[in-house]
Assembly symmetry: C2
Homo-oligomer: 396 residues x 2
């Protein structure tokens, strides 16, 4: 058995960033930038007014001064001339501050009458003016390669004049469940039969994490059923199997796939829930074999499939591990790293993780309600209420 950390290392080293593809900005949300996005313009493109008011020369705009209003500068329609001595231009938020002017007097601080304006408060130089390039300048890196694009990033990319962006291609993940006991939801079940739930969970997780999931179905526990896998998974970036790691006295997945080109990297991890995790390759394609138990499969997917997807997306892996205070005592831990299902709360700026009383790995209802997993290291001593613990956030 190897440690969780070593397993993550060995798995992520098995993947490289996939090639780039170009998508429209409207399809960029949630995708990962394949290159730095550098601005091709200054923003704002010219000095602009932050308020509605009058563009003036600070040297002229003393209290009581009367200035001639020689034109207008609404947003998008710059005033063509120049503000000379004793002159002002009516300006609106987002309007270009005309040449000659160096400040904007807000309209509340001015009295307009006929074609004149009387200054009631003298502005400082640059007051209410957003200088050209205040937000960003041509060549500035707006967002870095490897960043997962948020809705606010979409705004920034639009402002930077990106109609499309280069993003990493989505990893294609094939998912195969194994088990004689499994059926699909809504289908007839034999006695002792169980609805396959991991398949649906891992599909959803892969999509959440930026991949495309392909459901290759439920395979019975018979070696000959696996012969079709190499052909079915051609062109995939990752194969995820569910169950079959210890069927009866042997490992079905390994023995069934070995004749078809499977090579093992490692098997079994010192963790709970989990343990029978397989990592290897089916010919050229990496394969992660998750446990059959749905909660174990989901925890292992979070720990091992997610970093593999991050590596393929070229995104630095954002560890979902934080520190929190423990809500109630936990016993000493044994020889496997334990992932304790817990609720999270924040009070007075302090994060508290409250473990569920029941932790059986068959309990999917508890797992769906959990918000974090408290990480208990191998041989960890008992932990008291209020102790600091590591927590893995489930819905980042």
């Amino acid at each position: 058995m190897i440690s969780v950390d070593e397993a993550v290392q060995r798995i992520t080293h098995g993947f490289a960033a996939l090639p780039a593809e170009t998508v429209a900005l409207t399809d960029a949300l949630g995708r990962v930038l394949a290159r730095d996005a550098a601005a091709t313009l200054d923003h704002p493109p010219a000095p602009m007014s932050a308020m509605d008011g009058y563009a003036v020369r600070t040297d002229d705009a003393r209290i009581g001064a009367e200035l001639a209003v020689i034109g207008e500068a609404p947003a998008g329609r710059p005033f063509a001339g120049r503000v000379g001595s004793g002159q002002a231009v009516r300006i609106f938020t987002g309007g270009v501050v005309p040449e000659g002017a160096d400040a904007v007097v807000i309209q509340e601080d001015a009295d307009a009458h006929d074609k004149m304006v009387r200054i009631k408060e003298a502005p400082a130089r640059s007051e209410n003016v957003r200088e050209r390039g205040l937000d960003f300048r041509t060549g500035d890196v707006l967002l870095e390669r490897g960043r997962r694009i948020s809705s606010r990033d979409v705004a920034l990319l639009a402002a930077g004049d990106f109609a499309q962006v280069e993003v990493t291609r989505k990893p294609r993940v094939a998912i195969i469940a194994t088990g004689d006991e499994l059926t699909r939801p809504g289908e007839p079940r034999a006695p002792g039969g169980i609805v396959a739930s991991s398949t649906y969970a891992i599909q959803a997780m892969v999509r959440d994490w930026g991949g495309d999931a392909v459901d290759l179905g439920i395979v019975p526990d018979r070696e000959e059923e696996f012969a079709r896998l190499p052909a079915q998974t051609r062109g995939m970036d990752l194969i995820v199997t569910l169950g079959g790691a210890s069927v009866g006295d042997h490992d079905l997945i390994q023995s069934a796939l070995k004749p078809h080109g499977f090579t093992l990297d490692f098997w079994k991890i010192a963790m709970r829930p989990g343990k029978p995790l397989i990592f290897g390759r089916l010919n050229a394609t990496p394969l992660i074999g998750l446990p059959g138990n749905p909660v174990s499969a989901m925890v292992c997917a979070i720990l091992f499939v997610r970093p593999a997807l991050s590596a393929m997306l070229g995104a630095p892996y954002a560890s979902p591990v934080r520190t929190a205070r423990l809500g109630s005592a936990l016993k000493a831990n044994g020889k496997r790293q334990d992932y304790v299902r817990a609720r999270l709360s924040v009070s007075n700026g302090v994060l508290t993780a409250e473990p569920f009383r029941l932790q059986d790995s068959s309990m999917q209802k508890v797992f769906a309600r959990a918000e974090a997993l408290i990480i208990r290291r191998i041989d960890a001593p008992p932990a008291a209420e209020g102790d600091q613990v590591e927590v893995l956030l489930l819905d980042s």
Copy 2:
């Protein structure tokens, strides 16, 4: 001007949950449940073994006992008979514990030879047995109406035999930007022209929050351009306008839409960035008018459009406001509720919000990098480093 809290109240009261529709479980991720999802089966469906080993009667299985192995119970293939006195059944994880047996001895605690097994550790009653319905029972509500479905929820729904689920229809949101200065990314710009970025940001946000966004384009600042809006927005659940709330000396949106059936609920909110927010109806369709400044538009969308979407989705609005410690001092606040862009960090279980030095609402680069908004109430006194502050989390 009204307060932010009053505005949220008035807006959310203007929306009701949309009708339900049925989607396949594979399309359920991120959707909102329209009804409680109650289990139609017990899970597990029968007592099941949590381990590989031998199903035994605890009365017989004393240390040193020799039991006759009368059959096998792998997952999905229950043993048809009954375990009698002096008998055991070879069982595997997920196998149904046969009638007569009441515990499972793990294989490490048993010596098998020929058709006999010798018990090395006596089990307690029910040891390694998952009772029928341990996870959930028929009729149990697995997930409640209004819940946004996570990947772990997908697993639970599958386990509960849901091949499809009833979810709230996605709200259809029409987005219209206004402004003579605006162009689309990649298009030629006139001097002083700006790329319309809010349109793309609000589209992405609406999708993130569970709605469908329809881009109705960029409308110049002329009243006659708005005449087509009532026809274009028929069948929409919400209209979002961007900009046009104070063009020159008047409110373009209101004056342009009034002849076409617009009725105002309120206008202007005591907040920064923001302020010129419009809420009303264009005939039957609710309309939220966001400010033209992109950062202001995004902050207002988070504050006002998001709860409107939650209300239409029938989802209890999950406030993204938490408490944190302030990373560095802030000045006293004035007469508008302020939303200060900040970075977040967690250390020793304590959440800290560090305000950016530059807070100008034109700075989209800063806003894209922000992780939270520190909420400064009207007339809030100066705040010192380490003080407790309210923060609005930007990426939930």
